[in-house]
């Protein structure tokens, strides 16, 4: 777990993530891995037993994980969403905004770069899953 970067205060889930197919049938499982291209909406009916969702990022430009994370957050999921794979530092800001809150990158991230990327944009133009207040709201109070 040493190389997982977490933005959560609870204890990490140690249970290995099973495939989405297996998870749906395996009633005692609580950690699931969704590969890019799998439909995250399949988890919604069993969301109450999910504690960890691992999103596979095969190539960093594969942006499906952003939608997958938001769909889960919009469905009310509050457990951990971990991005695993080709996670580049420049993605983390957007990933955080979409509700991804832990990172298991293939190649280690420089923490200073991560912090710089996360703090660079003080405001955002639109709503997402992170509760940031959009600029239009700041303008109109």
């Amino acid at each position: 777990m040493a190389d997982v970067l977490r933005f959560r205060n609870d204890d990490p889930i140690e249970e290995p993530a099973v495939t989405l197919d297996a998870f749906v049938d395996q009633e005692d499982a609580s950690a699931v891995r969704i590969e890019a291209g799998e439909d995250p909406r399949r988890l919604i009916p069993v969301l109450d037993r999910v504690k960890l969702v691992e999103l596979g990022i095969p190539r960093f430009r594969d942006g499906r994980c952003f939608t997958a994370a938001r769909i889960l957050r919009e469905a009310g999921y509050e457990g951990e969403i971990r991005a695993e794979g080709d996670v580049l530092v420049d993605l983390i800001f957007f990933m955080r905004r979409c509700g991804i809150d832990s990172f298991a990158p293939q190649s280690p991230l420089n923490r200073a770069d991560v912090d710089a990327c996360l703090s660079r944009y003080e405001h955002v133009y639109q709503h997402a899953a992170d509760g940031a207040v959009p600029i239009w709201k700041l303008r109109h109070g």
């Binding site: 594969d62 942006g63 952003f66 919009e74 957007f94 955002v124 133009y125 639109q126 239009w136 109109h140």
Partner: protein, 544 residues
């Protein structure tokens, strides 16, 4: 015109630092070029044949004189003294050094400009009708919506790593001057029976190797909900698009694969969901933005006639000047298509001349058209002669709007790494062949569009006459297409038959045009004759 507040300014300033840091990490070797490439593309920086190319966003094709002067200054300081206006109303510099790019962005930020999302797999700069706010036929100015959507789609966290690029266009008139239905997402502002404003939405258009004309996905989306609707479209595409073949990842392919009905069904479902998330911008924000686009203080009681005693000026007026919605004013088009020049190019000096004219005669307002020309949208008719004289002196007074020499050509093999063939020299040869003014006027509206490869940046699918450069056993070869349109009567051009070499295709264009002259009814445009008689009648003439 829209003005940044402290939030908008902070955003572009942060982007400059962001990019500066990315360039630093690349130069330091912390990133390989594979990783750097998508990042630089998000900021409009391409690696071309000879140098980097930087594409600067011109949101909805609107500039003020300060911005245009800055573009001129950058051209002089960091490039070779000119810039190139593109078919998406942006500006490109073709001779940029990587290490200068962050400084250029910093300079742009001082005049409220940027290069955010001008390339790469992102939501691109939003295009609009170049006559917005001036056209007699618009129901409202589409730019407040374009600006609202610019903000809503800038750094959108869910849609910043899309399957491919995504282009939005907004117009608000029945006439289409912006190639609306060739966009991924095309919006036309309309009013419903109750008089409420909303959008007619088209989806799935695009040129490239597999051209599709966008289909109407919704007759009416209430204006206040348009961002939800666009997000719904994007989400369906982002979830389902292929990721295994770059050539099959545009949204048009998904629309085609799923079928229009099924795509619409899924979008509607996602739309209903987005409406519950409260992501749409409120009326107060629209009103705040719209206040920047209130009409300039037009004078009343101005003379509405034009002194046409100078025949060269009269010719220019007939070709370049369009009716304005306000009496006494006119829309003046500035040609960037001099015979034998490079279409869309403007020197720093020319940009400054146009900036001066805009400031003096057009309420500080300049537009860029998708046909790569410029516009002074609000000129008093009594000032047209002075404007024309200044343009004439700057080599900008060609009178060829929408005529045979107003050719759109992509950069082609002279600049572009993807090209099969050169585009610019073909455009120049066609211009020279038809340079004689009388001949141009006799032929009337005739849109020729040339692309140097199948990616179709020169819009050949939408040309009344299209030319496509292909590679034939290692030599440059050109296919001829007929019957395309990027106007309200959108059609896709068809290939006539075997290709030609560079001179051969110019001859073939001439044969097609001569056939049109034989077949046309009085007053009939090329495209209308083609539609009436069909391709075969032209094929005969072209191939004998």
């Amino acid at each position: 015109m829209y003005k940044y507040d402290q939030y908008d300014q902070a955003m572009v300033d942060a982007r400059v630092e962001d990019f500066r840091d990315q360039v630093r990490r690349r130069i330091a070797g912390d990133m390989n070029d594979d990783q750097f490439k998508p990042l630089r593309l998000k900021n409009g920086l391409y690696l071309q044949l000879h140098a980097y190319m930087l594409r600067v966003a011109i949101p909805y094709g609107t500039l003020n004189s300060r911005q245009l002067r800055k573009l001129a200054e950058i051209a002089r300081k960091y490039d070779r003294g000119y810039g190139h206006f593109t078919t998406r109303q942006n500006l490109q510099y073709h001779w940029i050094k990587l290490e200068d790019a962050p400084d250029i962005l910093a300079e742009l930020a001082t005049v409220e400009m940027h290069a955010i999302q001008t390339s790469g797999e992102s939501i691109r700069n939003i295009s609009a009708d170049q006559y917005a706010g001036a056209a007699a036929d618009e129901i409202c100015d589409p730019r407040p919506w374009a600006e609202l959507l610019r903000q809503a789609t800038s750094f959108h966290p869910e849609f910043s790593y899309l399957p491919r690029k995504f282009k939005i266009c907004v117009i608000s008139s029945p006439a289409d001057r912006a190639a609306l239905r060739w966009h991924d997402c095309a919006l036309r502002i309309v009013r419903n029976e109750a008089g409420e404003e909303g959008f007619e939405v088209y989806a799935g258009g695009g040129m490239g190797r597999t051209p599709f004309i966008a289909y109407k996905i919704r007759d009416f989306c209430p204006a206040a909900q348009i961002f939800s609707y666009i997000q719904a479209i994007l989400r369906v595409w982002n979830l389902h698009a292929r990721r295994d073949n770059i050539h099959k990842q545009r949204m048009k392919i998904l629309v085609h694969d799923l079928g229009e009905e099924e795509f619409r069904r899924q979008v509607e479902e996602a739309f209903q969901h987005f409406l519950t998330l409260d992501t749409d911008f409120p009326q107060a924000e629209y009103d705040r933005i719209a206040a920047y686009f209130t009409p300039p203080p037009f004078e009343t009681g101005l003379p509405d006639d034009i002194d046409r005693s100078d025949p060269d000026f009269a010719l220019w007026v007939d070709q370049q000047v369009i009716a304005h919605k306000t009496p006494g004013y006119a829309i003046a088009n500035i040609s960037l298509k001099p015979i034998g020049g490079i279409g869309g190019d403007a020197t720093a000096e020319q940009m400054e001349v146009v900036a001066d004219l805009a400031e003096r005669y057009s309420f500080d307002d300049v537009r860029v058209t998708h046909a790569q020309n410029l516009v002074l949208p609000h000129v008093r008719k009594q000032d047209l002669y002075a404007v024309w004289q200044a343009l004439h002196e700057a080599g900008l007074a060609d009178a060829n709007l929408d005529l045979v020499t107003d050719v759109i050509a992509c950069p082609g093999l002279d600049y572009c790494t993807l090209a099969n063939a050169r585009s610019i020299p073909v455009a120049q040869k066609i211009q020279r062949r038809f340079a004689e003014m009388e001949r141009q006027l006799d032929l009337g509206e005739l849109k020729i569009k040339i692309s140097g490869c199948i990616n179709a940046c020169g819009h050949h699918h939408a040309g009344h006459i299209g030319i496509l450069g292909v590679d034939r056993k290692g030599t440059e070869n050109y296919q001829l297409l007929l019957g395309g349109s990027g106007a309200e009567d959108t059609t896709q051009a068809k290939i006539t038959g075997p290709g030609f070499d560079e001179d051969g295709v110019v001859d073939a264009v001439e044969r097609a045009i001569e056939r049109y002259r034989e077949l046309r009814d009085p007053g009939e445009r090329f495209i209308d004759t083609y539609r009436r008689v069909g391709l075969d009648a032209f094929k005969e003439a072209i191939y004998g």
